[in-house]
Amino acid sequence: MSSAQFEIQLIASLVAVACAIPGTFLVLRKMAMISDAISHSILPGIVIGFFITHDLNSPLLILLAALTGIVTVILVEYIQKTGLVKEDTAIGLVFPALFSIGVIMIAKNANDVHLDVDAVLLGELAFAPFDRLVIAGHDVGPKSLWIVGTILAITVTLLFTFFKELKVSTFDKGLAASLGFSPAILHYGLMSVSSVTTVGAFDAVGAILVVALMIAPAAAAYLLTTNLKKMLGLAIGFGIFSAIFGYWVAHWLDASIAGSITTVLGLVFLLVYLFAPSKGIIAVLYRERQQRTEVSLLTFLLHLKNHDDLSERHVKHLNEHINWQKVRSKTVLDLAIKNNMITIDNAIVSLTEKGDEFTSKAINYIITNEDTQIEDMKDDFFLFRG
């Protein structure tokens, strides 16, 4: 591994961490799409900054572009406040307009500007190590490393200083306000950090892939945990893993590094989405099936309790009466027997003492409209789940 390769991976990992931190809060605050809007609408800011400074890495340019990001947020909120359109429409109206202005500004000055829309949108990490920062004749490393590092340091400092405030205001705005934390300051603070991070990272990974680095790790982490600290940790972990693994995939395919980092992120999310222990799609489908069987079981037990005559309790009759398919009634019967709820005697089904107690309690909960209690009760009665 050459030093350039190491530097690329280091920059990518730092960007991933810098994005994952604000990204986690954006996902939790249901503002993920704002990051998309910011990433597009900083373009005019970057272009104007570039006209002034002629240097893509100048701090002034980053400040100007970040300012455009905040202007976007303010514009979106202003349009939302007028109530003329629904919330997300406001986002969808603002950023394409700003982005178009940026594209047109670049096109009109194409001759004297070495700035390419593709470069802004997609970035080129592979070139990052060649733009070195030289202080007093000493080469201290790539410029983007310093930029991303500074942004990360600021973000981490802010995170540790305001962790409690952020946490409270994210989960309970009312409580945060009543405790004296200004929701507006926290909101715009988070927006500013997101803007600065987006601008700082666009040069390395491109504006759109910043969105991926912000949302995907946080979303994957959110499927795995409901603890904020763990979620932050997991998101950072996913980010770093994708950055490094993505680099090697790009190296192997000889393709865009940013694109392959995003693809790896996508695969990570897909895996988590499918296999997350309790929130993953497989677990959800399994649980849905289990619940369907258990509801059937409950219906079945209620039916038994309501009917005393033998004809109503005949195994064959139950098939017709509750109108179940054969397979389904068999699963339900098996489950009931396994759980010791019923006994079958000469093809006549009857409730056991335990089954009777379970059913009476269930009826009680249903009558008093406390259906949710049944879930807890299942834990007490069931040896086997559906």
């Binding site: 959110y222 995003t262 992120l265």
Partner: protein, 375 residues
């Protein structure tokens, strides 16, 4: 170049005519279908789908190795649909919210698309150049057959929309009621969504993945301000969309170095801003005017009521009182007093005022019945 000259050129010049027609048809189609997206609160779906279409284009090219527009668009359609249904899957099956799902699909698909595009660029296939036009769109590459394709698809959308108008409309405004009526909401839903995806895919060649969402939203958002009727809104949105296309093409054709896509989007945004400000019933301007007028009326009423309060204590209702008395009262200003005089509610004599008979009666009835003249 003046306007008549330009219009002549539109009819004589093949390229310009094709592009103008193409963008107009596209604008009409996206405006029409965009109305549904906006009303269904799926505004950002367009953004997500247009980005999600990118890997489809790349994969279609990788499989066929040819740059035939139609094959590439079918690829885009398939990947756009996959993206849409994955978003739906994420929202319904997990606790992630729709904004996260949209952002995820948007960025992940786009990133994957970029990976494929850069991968294709390294391939030894001379055909590969120009795939990146789908990023920002290039209206200049439109040919007559593309316009025909757009027109046909738009026609089909229109026919389907008119056939299922009732179903679309009721699903839009009351999904639960639709279900209880026995309509298959899932099918209608999928139908609308698929058409939105189709419209987006058609626009990719002209305005590109990045700006496509604005084409969907802006005409619809502008049209929404002028009417409360769905049919009117769809019609207006199609009109705004078509005009954005025509004007945008005109502006970009008369200037150097102006790509058509962004200009069309900006023209559409101008429509939106204009509608936001000047719409008679919802617009910001008239809302502000109504607000100020209401406040003035309220101040007038308050002053009158206060005067009535004083006059009540005297037997003669027109007994003069000093203007100074009013100074402590908040609603009072010199101009409200002048207004009251103009309306013949109050008479002024030097430093004294007195209520007239009409004024007294109006004031007495102020809070008991609606005063119609202020409606």
């Amino acid at each position: 170049m003046d306007i008549t000259e330009y219009i002549q050129l539109v009819f004589t010049d093949y390229t310009l005519r094709t592009i103008t027609l193409g963008t107009a048809v596209l604008g009409a189609a996206t405006g029409m279908l965009g109305s549904f997206a906006v009303l269904r609160k799926q505004s950002l779906l367009g953004d997500a789908i247009s980005h999600a279409a990118l890997p489809g284009i790349a994969i279609a090219f990788l499989i066929t190795g040819a740059k035939d527009t139609n094959t590439l668009l079918i690829g885009a359609l398939v990947s756009g649909l996959i993206g849409t249904f994955w978003i739906r899957g994420i929202v319904t099956k997990t606790h992630l919210k729709s904004d996260t799902a949209l952002g995820l699909i948007l960025s992940l698909f786009f990133g994957f698309g970029m990976l494929l595009l850069t991968f294709i660029q390294k391939q030894p296939n001379a055909n590969q150049a120009g795939l990146d036009k789908y990023l920002f769109g290039q209206a200049a590459t439109l040919v007559e057959s593309d316009v025909w394709l757009m027109a046909i698809v738009t026609g089909i959308c229109l026919i389907v929309m008119l056939t299922f108008w009732k179903e679309f409309k009721i699903l839009l405004f009351d999904a639960d009621y639709t279900k209880t009526l026995g309509f298959n909401t899932k099918t209608i839903d999928i139908l609308i969504t698929s058409f939105i995806v189709l419209a987006i895919v058609l626009g990719l060649q002209t305005v590109g993945v990045v700006l496509m969402s604005a084409m969907l939203l802006a005409p619809a958002a502008a049209a929404r301000q002028w009417t409360n009727s769905l049919a009117m809104m769809v019609f207006l949105a199609a009109l705004f969309g078509a005009f954005s296309g025509v004007f945008g093409t005109a502006i970009s054709a008369t200037q150097n170095n102006l790509s058509t896509g962004p200009v069309i989007v900006l023209v559409a945004s101008v429509f939106v801003v204009f509608s936001f400000v000047f719409s008679p019933s919802r617009g910001l301007l008239f809302k502000q005017i109504r607000f100020i007028k209401n406040r003035r009326d309220l101040e007038l009423h308050k002053t009158l009521a206060f005067m009535h309060h004083i006059a009540e204590t005297h037997e003669d209702i027109s007994h003069p009182h000093a203007i100074k008395l009013l100074n402590n009262f908040q609603g009072y200003t010199r101009s409200t007093l002048q207004k009251l005089v103009e309306k013949d509610y109050v008479e002024l004599k030097g430093n004294m005022w007195s209520l007239t008979k009409i004024g007294f009666e109006t004031a007495a009835n102020l809070y008991t019945k609606q005063v119609t003249e202020n409606e």
